[in-house]
């Protein structure tokens, strides 16, 4: 028996009494604290069949244990999360996106920063799965698909990656997604094309993963109907002094409620124009954020940030530094309740990783639940 198998407690191939599962799941550390369903063979087989893929297909290698997330292993975690077979293509696409090197899954899930991979579903699959896009969208919207997809991804990271708290996860404060998973769906009431299409995919549905903080609320206090003033409200929340983005740039997520997006659209702003305007507005004066301390005693070039592009003039304290390098680094998604115009800002991890990766959701003909091709 190899070392990893010897170190992990043995997993029972079967149990005679399902009432023993609850305590067993805690004893074997198969959950982070929330109760989980038993990964019953019949349920797992149905989930594998729903994926339309072979059980042994490797989806991703999950750090830090570098466990092998095959379709069957993902299905076992999806079963524990209460997912349905039709959820599997979304879960698999999300994990494949996280496995892209630019996402830096190891870094974003083990960092001290309060960030977590957010799963964003957009396009036809949102309606087909009946996903919630309105009230409480960031906490699942009371919807099985949203919660089960997010939770399935989370359990894969926990069980396959062994991303256990303290060994080695060092996140200082925590993030809701680290417990429940984090999955939102874009609203079909958006005036703009689906998010994944704006990111270059032609497929009917897509899933995007982005490492970010929990949403920061931006209410429209004091703002009139002028788009500039409304987006300035969001820009102020984007360019905060202590954010990773403000010091290292990277990417950032801005979520508009459908009514806010429609308002901006009526005033002539599409998604690209919103990105441009936010890029122009979300800035801070260099003199107010310039790194200080014994290692950076003055503003000489050897103490300048290397994160920033050359066109940011670091010799001048009055330079207005943008929160990201390019407008397209501001991801604009439409979701949330349609009752009140509102905006949410989800700062990213900065230039350290967790960058948005978008993959198509490919639906394949379900296979026989017995696993035969």
């Amino acid at each position: 028996m190899r070392e990893a198998r010897r170190m992990a407690p043995p997993f029972p191939a079967e149990v005679d009494d399902l009432r023993t599962w609850v305590e067993l799941s805690y004893e074997l550390r198969l959950t982070d604290g929330l109760p989980v369903h038993p990964p019953l063979r019949e349920v797992v087989d149905a989930l594998v069949a729903g994926s339309g893929r072979d059980a042994d297909d490797l989806v991703a290698v999950i750090p830090p244990r570098d466990g092998r997330a095959t379709v069957e292993v993902v299905a076992a975690n999806a079963a524990m999360a209460g997912a349905l077979p039709e959820h599997m293509p979304v879960v698999l696409a999300a994990l494949e996106a996280m496995a892209e090197p630019r996402f830096n899954l190891r870094g974003i899930t083990l960092t001290t920063h309060a960030a977590w991979p957010l799963v964003i579903v957009s396009g036809d699959e949102v309606g087909r799965l009946g996903m919630a896009t309105g009230e409480t969208v960031f906490s699942g919207g009371g919807n099985r698909a949203n919660v089960a997809i997010g939770r399935a991804v989370k359990l894969v990271l926990w069980n396959v990656g062994a991303q256990f708290v303290g060994e080695p996860v060092k996140e200082v404060f925590g993030h809701q997604g680290r417990l429940s998973g984090s999955c939102i769906a874009e609203s079909p009431d958006s005036p703009w094309e689906p998010f994944h299409r704006a990111r270059g995919l032609d497929d009917p549905s897509g899933v995007t993963v982005f490492g970010c903080e929990s949403p920061h609320s931006v209410a429209m206090w004091g703002a009139d109907d002028e788009p500039h003033n409304r987006l300035a409200q969001a820009a102020d929340a984007m360019a905060t002094r202590g954010s990773n983005n403000m010091h290292t740039m990277g990417e950032i997520l801005v979520v508009l409620t459908p009514s806010e997006a429609r308002h901006l659209d009526r005033r002539g702003l599409g998604r690209a124009e919103v990105q441009q305007e936010l890029f122009r507005l979300a800035r801070r004066r260099l003199g107010d954020i310039r790194p200080r301390g014994p290692l950076r005693p003055d503003a000489s070039p050897e103490h300048w940030y290397t994160w920033w592009p050359d066109w940011v003039d670091q010799s001048d304290d009055d330079t207005m530094v943008p929160v990201v390098e390019r407008p397209e680094d501001i991801h604009v998604v439409v979701a949330g309740a349609d009752s009140i115009p509102w905006i949410a800002v989800c700062p990213g991890w900065g230039n350290l990783g967790g960058f948005a990766v978008t993959r198509p959701i490919r639906l394949r003909a379900p296979r026989d639940a017995g696993g035969a091709p």
Partner: protein
């Protein structure tokens, strides 16, 4: 009634590190020591680059024939690339530093 279960862990076949590397015995005349710096410099507080320079000075006082390799990772949040780690192949020991 028996219920069949599927292991959700996808355990890898490769060994996991479980024990510390053995401490070196007698120090030879000529040794290589490496410092792998997680972040080039910090805004304030502890600075591993300077710390490693101090350690190097102490080592040179004790062991005249010390070869030092010192590098900083290009991106602090990512594991070091193999091409970078190759530079430490001849080292007797490597000290990695976060200094936060």
């Amino acid at each position: 009634m028996t219920f069949r279960l599927v292991d959700p862990r996808g355990l890898p076949d490769r060994p996991e590190p479980s024990v510390m590397a053995p401490r070196p015995g007698a120090v030879p005349d000529h040794i290589g020591i490496g410092f792998l710096i997680n972040e080039v410099s910090r805004q304030s507080g502890p600075d591993f680059t300077r710390y490693s320079l101090v350690i190097e000075e102490v080592l040179r006082e004790r062991y005249p024939r010390v070869d030092v390799v010192r590098d900083a990772k290009p991106v602090l949040s990512r594991p070091a690339e193999h091409s970078l780690l190759d530079r430490y192949k001849h080292c007797r020991g490597v000290v990695t530093g976060l200094a936060k």
